[in-house]
């Protein structure tokens, strides 16, 4: 493995690790806001217990998110000095603003986690608002930086010197609105289905109790609301890519030749050697229509870009296909869940009494699908980032700075990659073990815990 490849692999691993905690850091506070809000409004101990359990897990997850994020901010310089010497002044501002979001998050998290007995119930619930807002804000800020890497604006670069910097223009670069929207929504999609999945597995293993049905319902509802938005923003995102990063589009779609009325390829494996995509189902003129709104539009193929300016399409195409497949899969699951609920309501004599999560109890298939959706949501997040990051290659700043020019001259990157990956794997294993143990300690519907708490 070359030093350059090791550097890229280390960056990718660190980001892929961090995004899991970052997504949960955006999604979980909103769920806490809802659940603890219900507990407060209705003076309901089950909702309250749910919030308490989640807050424990959130405490651990946030700490891992914070340290893995710190690694990233150093790595920008440790691995990519040739990127930061240009990007620092142009796009540092959103990172600095993100710093304030982190402060807010960390401060209110401290109050939230350790304040159950020190703050009034109302004050405690109110802490979830800054948590949810600052989590979303930090995701927004950092994504603007990534979007700037895709569509850099707001500066001049001449003879290696950056000048005429317009930081606000850099933050609001052409990609910002759509990339930030698609990314932030993905955090709610992934968190929602993941939370529902945890309780679906519990129900599958025969656990019963109100708390399971409620937790599953809240998670599902968040995922169900976010999923259509995710697909709509994804469609806009793809059309944006077609306009601003045509080589990435060609890679996403496995489009090697320039073509009028290009087909939409579903599935398939790009074969760069042969210059075509094998095994794909082709929908005639579908790509031209989706990307440019005109079935006769010309789509530029990878072979017609100047040599050395296109990404390797294999991973990009496959990742994109899987992300889209998961998106529609989650949509189908949403319809299934809602359909089952509506059917159950029709059947029950008392009408409104059926709680959405209750319908799952009788359907193993639905529970299994929800369990799988918990993984699929995060898989889609990771795959989407592979599309964005691998699809931008060979550029780190699209059309301006090549990734190969940005890498550090320091030796030993292979070692650094191996060691850091080992640490991430170790942390992940320890974390999962710990969360499982936490969950094992809180089995049951919570009735016993509530009684114990009331007695105390």
């Amino acid at each position: 493995m070359s030093e350059y490849l090791a550097g890229r692999a280390q960056m990718g691993t660190s980001l892929a690790f961090h995004i899991v905690f970052a997504s949960l850091g955006v999604g979980l506070p909103l769920l806490l806001l809802i659940v603890e809000g219900l507990a407060y409004r209705r003076k309901d101990e089950t909702w309250r217990l749910l919030a308490r359990r989640w807050s424990k897990a959130f405490g651990i997850l946030f700490a891992i998110g914070a340290v893995s994020g710190t690694v990233l901010s150093f790595e920008l310089g440790l691995l990519w000095p040739g990127f930061m010497k240009y990007a620092g002044s142009v796009i540092g501002l959103p990172f600095s603003l993100e710093g304030f979001a982190f402060f807010t998050e960390a401060i209110f998290l401290g109050l939230y986690l350790y304040g159950w007995d020190r703050l009034s119930p109302l004050a405690h619930w109110l802490c979830t608002i800054p948590l949810a807002v600052s989590g979303a804000a930090s995701a927004w800020f950092v994504t603007t930086a990534n979007s700037w890497m895709n569509s850099p604006t707001g500066f001049k670069l001449q003879d290696g010197v950056v000048s005429d910097v317009r930081p606000i223009e850099a933050i609001f670069n052409p990609g910002t609105p759509i990339e930030t929207a698609h990314t932030m929504i993905s955090a709610y999609v992934a968190t929602g289905f993941a939370v529902a999945a945890v309780y679906a597995v519990g129900l599958l293993r025969g656990r019963r109790g109100l708390i399971y049905r409620r937790a599953l319902t809240v998670g599902m509802l968040m995922g169900i609301v976010a999923t259509p938005l995710q697909i709509i923003t994804g469609d806009i995102n793809a059309r944006w890519v077609a306009d601003y990063q045509p080589a990435k589009l060609a890679a996403m779609e496995g489009q090697f030749q320039t073509e009028k009325g290009a087909p939409l390829r579903i599935g398939g494996i790009p074969n760069p050697g042969a210059g075509r995509t094998d095994f794909a189902i082709e929908i005639p003129a579908g790509l031209s229509f989706l990307a440019y709104g005109d079935p006769g539009a010309v789509v530029k193929g990878l072979q017609d870009f100047p040599a050395g300016t296109t990404p390797n399409p294999v991973m990009v195409h496959i990742s994109f296909q899987l992300m889209v497949a998961i998106g529609f899969g989650l949509l189908a699951l949403s319809a299934w869940f809602l359909g089952a609920w509506i059917a159950a309501r029709r059947q029950s004599k008392s009408g409104r009494r059926v709680f959405p999560g209750a319908v799952t109890v009788h359907s193993r298939a639905l529970l299994l699908a929800i369990g799988a959706a918990g993984f699929a949501g995060f898989a889609a997040v990771e795959l989407g980032w592979m599309v964005t990051e691998l699809g931008r290659q060979p550029w780190v700043i699209y059309g301006v700075v090549r990734t190969s020019q940005a890498i550090t001259p320091a030796p030993g990157l292979v070692w650094s990659f191996v060691i850091s990956t080992a640490i991430y794997v170790g942390l992940a294993v320890a974390l999962v073990g710990l969360l499982l143990r936490l969950a094992a300690g809180t089995r049951g519907g919570g009735e016993a815990e509530i009684a114990a708490e009331e007695a105390a």
Partner: protein, 339 residues
């Protein structure tokens, strides 16, 4: 405001972040040191005190480092790049420490209570709490000595040599003993507020020990400064002299107050001493950010960036400081429930 003034203002804000990080997060690292070396009949009580003191605040304290890094790469990119390239290895080690320390703390604090201290995580927590301040202190030494190379030769000797000179190692030790001293000083107050005077006594002895080590290391540093960092030495004995004197006074006050069990006074004097040392360093080294050649002026981002950043800092401070105040009032104030 002229461009130069804006540059110095931003540099000043960042240096204040260094001071706050050292005084608060430094103490969190120090807490890890005392966790590792918990001894005697009140071993478990010592560890509980550390964990209770750090729990609600360590993440907020940690953000000062992120604030500093992002601020540095926004406003002085050449300085950031120079440090990241020249100090690649020690920064990677510090990161390793930061990750292990944070993960270990969270796993222990929120994990299964029955095996809080005996697990490998307990060891990782302590060991990482020692490594991180030591390595960062050594990096500070390399910067102060003007040794961070502009174009390091890509060899392991260059990676290691820069920050392992005797001067850097002493700086590392100094950083570690200062962190340990801060932690012990803060913990005396928390223990005596909780009414546990025996525990306060434990931490008093530890604070005095750390203070003595700091004193010895500081005395060793002085002659090294004259040869390893002559520029800094000149600065410290001229422009920086008032701050050096203040540092000595605060150090004496902290030691005296701790000895005579005036814990609250010691809790103020100890960080004041750290602030005086760090500010003295900054004043003595100005206008250099990374000697021998990178100054505040020649590495600053374009003026539009500095202005935008200053506006962001003012707006951010309006959110940050009230929230921080709330956090520390709820958990560190004279709150009877704090026991």
């Amino acid at each position: 405001m002229s461009a130069t003034q804006a540059d110095y203002l931003v540099a000043g804000v960042l240096w204040i972040a260094v001071v706050i990080y050292a005084c608060f997060a430094g103490a969190d690292f120090g807490g890890g040191v005392w966790d590792l070396f918990a001894r005697g009949p009140r071993k478990e009580a010592q560890r509980r005190a550390v964990s209770r003191a750090m729990g609600p605040v360590w993440e907020a304290n940690h953000v000062w480092l992120i604030f500093l890094i992002t601020g540095l790469f926004t406003s002085f990119p050449p300085a950031f790049v120079r440090l990241a390239v020249g100090l690649y290895l020690p920064f990677s080690l510090a990161l390793l420490g930061i990750v292990l320390r944070g993960a270990a703390f969270a796993f222990r604090a929120h994990g299964a209570p029955e095996q809080r201290t005996t697990t490998p995580w307990g060891l990782a927590f302590g060991a990482a709490s020692i490594m991180t301040p030591f390595v960062l202190g050594a990096c500070a030494g390399a910067v102060a000595a003007g040794d961070v190379p502009a174009n390091p030769s890509p060899s392991f000797d260059a990676l290691v040599g820069v920050w392992t000179t005797p001067f850097c190692l002493v700086c590392g030790g100094l950083a570690l003993s200062i962190c340990a001293g801060l932690a012990a000083a803060y913990l005396t107050v928390e223990a005596s507020d909780a009414g546990d005077s025996a525990l306060a006594e434990d931490f008093r002895r530890r604070a005095l020990l750390a203070g003595a080590v700091t004193l010895v290391l500081a005395i060793v540093t002085l002659p090294l400064l004259t040869t390893e960092a002559p520029g800094l030495w000149t600065g410290l004995t001229t422009r920086g002299l008032p701050l050096v004197i203040m540092a000595v006074v605060f150090a004496a006050a902290a030691g005296g107050a701790m000895y005579s069990r005036h814990y609250r006074l010691a809790r103020l004097a100890a960080p004041a001493q750290v602030a005086a040392i760090l500010l003295g360093w900054a004043v003595a080294q100005a206008p250099y950010l990374v000697p021998p050649d990178l100054t505040v002026d020649n590495s600053a981002s374009p003026p539009e960036v500095m202005t935008a950043l200053l506006i962001a800092y003012v707006a951010g401070a309006a959110v940050l400081f009230p929230s921080l105040l709330l956090l520390f009032r709820v958990f560190k104030g004279q709150n009877p429930a704090a026991a």
